[in-house]
Amino acid sequence: MRKLLIVIVWIVELFFTARWHGCWLFKDIFYFTWKVVLARAIDAISLNNGASVLLTHLMHNKIVYLFWGGLQMLLQYWDVRFLKEFIGIIGFFGIVFAIWYLLTSLRKNVYVWFLFIFCLIISLIEMFFQPNIDYIWKLFVFGSAFQLLSLIGIWQFLKVKSKKRYLFVIFLLTVSILSLVFFPLAYQAFCLKI
């Protein structure tokens, strides 16, 4: 039963990611460029007129905005609103379970940690450098990595043999399928359409 559910979940996640072929680029909310850092710093400094110059430069400078803004922007890749369009609600919960499993499990899960860090790194690379690779390849790499992480999460979640957990996963699957049927174009909020 667990294997069957995992396969169904994977197929549903594939359907979600496959829709993104209708685009050619992620939207600018996923990118954090030097220009954005500068713009934020300049805006903040301009609005701080009247306050101490030393304090203003100490608080509002490029290093602060690179670090803080970068962290904020990174959340976009792990955000429920993006992931529920990218791999479905079921996929999002899979990732939550996977991270939960990593944080709470006493066993050393080298491969899962590796996968999680890989997902983080590709998010950071895309966010900061926007590498000049075909969108389709990006989609493949992001899709595969996030799907695999979410499938591991669901696999671990279902390891405890409990009817409630199975029902919960089936419920999430149903909601994901409903979303796919009723909001087929919702993903366009996150990417530029061809």
Partner: protein, 507 residues
């Protein structure tokens, strides 16, 4: 409670109160349309006992295409009795309720922690941490400082929950009466609580039936009394006026529930909206992007809270304090219910109830890391303390230095500046003419300069020949300086571009 704790609690309340009251008349920089409407209705009630439309002591106040719940307006009337018809009076009830909510948060969390051996010892310390965090929480501060009804509703709702817990522990009927009254007042205060409060009371009554049959009868009686007191609101909800707000913001406006597909779509919309309230970018970065609802790019919660929230969830899964777990999960689950049936979703204002469980969760996360003491604990706490301090200083800078400038348009500051100029010049002119494209609703002028007759005109307006000998002050947006010799003054917005909001011409 020991003396140092009492002193610390007073310190926190003082800090929270200071942050909520300091400079509220001018930051946010003006009254926005709903605040103006509240102020006008409150003033009319105070002076004549009737609202703007001549209805005596109404249950719902007509306002810009919908109807407002009455409690906040009556509270502003009271506040105007002491402070006059000012911006401060309009915001006072919200700031006061926001400050008092800190106290409620403290006692509510303390009560929850005291209901179990494991957490009893640290109840005072953790509750102080929670109260301190709540006092400086950007999300709650933002709404406490504006004339938002939701702050008062949240105060009564959390007080209701607290008294419910007190009743559970002491069985004194007075507390149950308190629960009933608090939930009732909260639903008469803010639209979303018309759903949240009855639902909470109903679900708690059901939970009591399964857990503690002895007191079920009392809860049921209180619930019946609550329904009876809510009856006028229920009747109002079924009228066309009562449904206006719901229909105007409903997420299901395009959905028909006549068939299974329609119902399934409705469920999918609700769940999608519901889940969106737990979006990380919404909570920690952008909020709902309405400038009135948060400081831009700061987020609703502090960034450093994120790891503690995760640790707090871990604590909740392990704790034996069932009451704490029940209330936390309950608050988290119920907070997005009413907001999820409305658009836009997620929306910061309607989800304000979540500030309480998020605060508790952070405090529990701090405790979870504390009890797992290892060589890193001291470092983690030192780093956290530094982050808390730095984030707080950043927030103060963003809120008190930058926000008043960048949010001027959103808070109607330009209109306020025009009215103050009109006040200054009122004796020099026979007519004051205002261009409709300024988007300054007539209520602004009724609130600030009620004695001066005004004329609202289109952008094509020209001074009539019949007014040849009359002196006119004409306020309009910047269309270009075609008559620079008549320009009296430019009204600027103090944003980055220093845009011209309006131009005042003497004609």
């Amino acid at each position: 409670m020991k003396l140092p704790f009492i002193i610390a609690l007073f310190g926190i309340i003082f800090l929270g109160g200071f942050l909520r009251f300091y400079n509220i008349s001018s930051n946010p920089s003006g009254l926005y349309t709903d605040e103006v409407s509240i102020g006008l209705n409150a003033y009319d009630i105070l002076k004549t006992g009737k609202d703007q439309y001549g209805v005596s002591f109404p249950l719902a106040f007509k306002s810009f295409g919908d109807y407002k719940m009455p409690v906040y307006i009556y509270l502003v009337s009271l506040s105007m009795m002491f402070f006059g018809k000012t911006d401060f009076s309009v915001r006072f009830p919200s700031a006061l309720a926001g400050t008092l909510t800190i106290l409620v948060v403290f006692f509510l969390f303390r009560q929850l922690l005291k209901s179990d051996k494991q957490t009893k010892k640290v109840a005072d310390t953790l509750s102080l941490i929670a109260a301190g965090l709540f006092a400086i929480l950007p999300w709650h501060l933002q709404f406490s400082r504006g004339g938002f009804e939701v702050c008062v509703a949240l105060f009564f709702y959390s007080l209701g929950i607290f008294w419910g817990l007190r009743y559970w522990n002491t069985r004194k009927w007075l507390y149950l009466l308190g629960v009933m009254l608090c939930f009732c007042v909260s639903e008469y205060t803010y639209q979303a609580y018309r759903i949240i409060s009855p639902l909470t009371f109903f679900l708690i009554t059901i939970a009591v039936f399964f857990k503690e049959k002895k007191i079920f009868k009392n809860f049921l009686l209180a619930f019946i009394a609550f329904i009876t007191l809510s009856f006028p609101l229920v009747v109002f909800s079924f009228t066309s006026q009562g449904q206006e707000r719901l229909l105007g913001t409903s997420a299901f406006a395009q959905t028909s529930f006549n068939n299974i597909a329609g119902i399934a779509k409705g469920v999918a919309i609700f769940l999608n909206n519901y889940i969106s309230y737990f979006s990380l970018t919404f909570l920690f970065h952008l909020g709902d992007q309405a400038n009135r609802h948060q400081v831009q790019n700061f987020g609703l919660l502090y960034f450093w809270q994120l790891p503690f929230c995760i640790a707090g969830i871990y604590f909740l899964t392990k704790t034996k304090n069932t009451m704490l777990r029940f209330i936390m999960i309950f608050l988290f689950l119920i907070a997005p219910v009413a907001p999820a049936i409305a658009l836009p979703s997620p929306q910061t204002l309607r989800f304000l109830l979540a500030t309480v469980p998020f605060t508790f969760l952070t405090a529990l996360g701090i405790y979870q890391i504390y009890i797992q003491r290892n060589k890193w604990t001291k470092f983690i706490f030192a780093a956290t303390a530094a982050f808390v301090l730095i984030s707080f200083v950043y927030f103060l800078d963003y809120y008190f230095v930058q926000y008043p400038k960048e949010s001027q348009i959103d808070w109607g500051s330009g209109c306020k500046q025009i009215t103050s100029q009109i006040q200054k010049n009122s004796t020099r002119y026979n007519y004051i003419v205002v261009d409709k494209n300024l988007n300054c609703i007539p209520e602004y002028f009724s609130f600030y300069v009620p004695s001066i007759p005004l004329k609202y005109v289109d952008s094509s307006w020209m001074k009539p020949t019949a007014w040849k000998d009359k002196k006119v002050l004409y306020a309009r947006p910047f269309y270009g300086n075609n008559k620079p010799e008549n320009l009296e003054e430019n009204i600027y917005i103090a944003n980055v571009n220093h845009d011209i909001f309006a131009q005042l011409y003497k004609l």
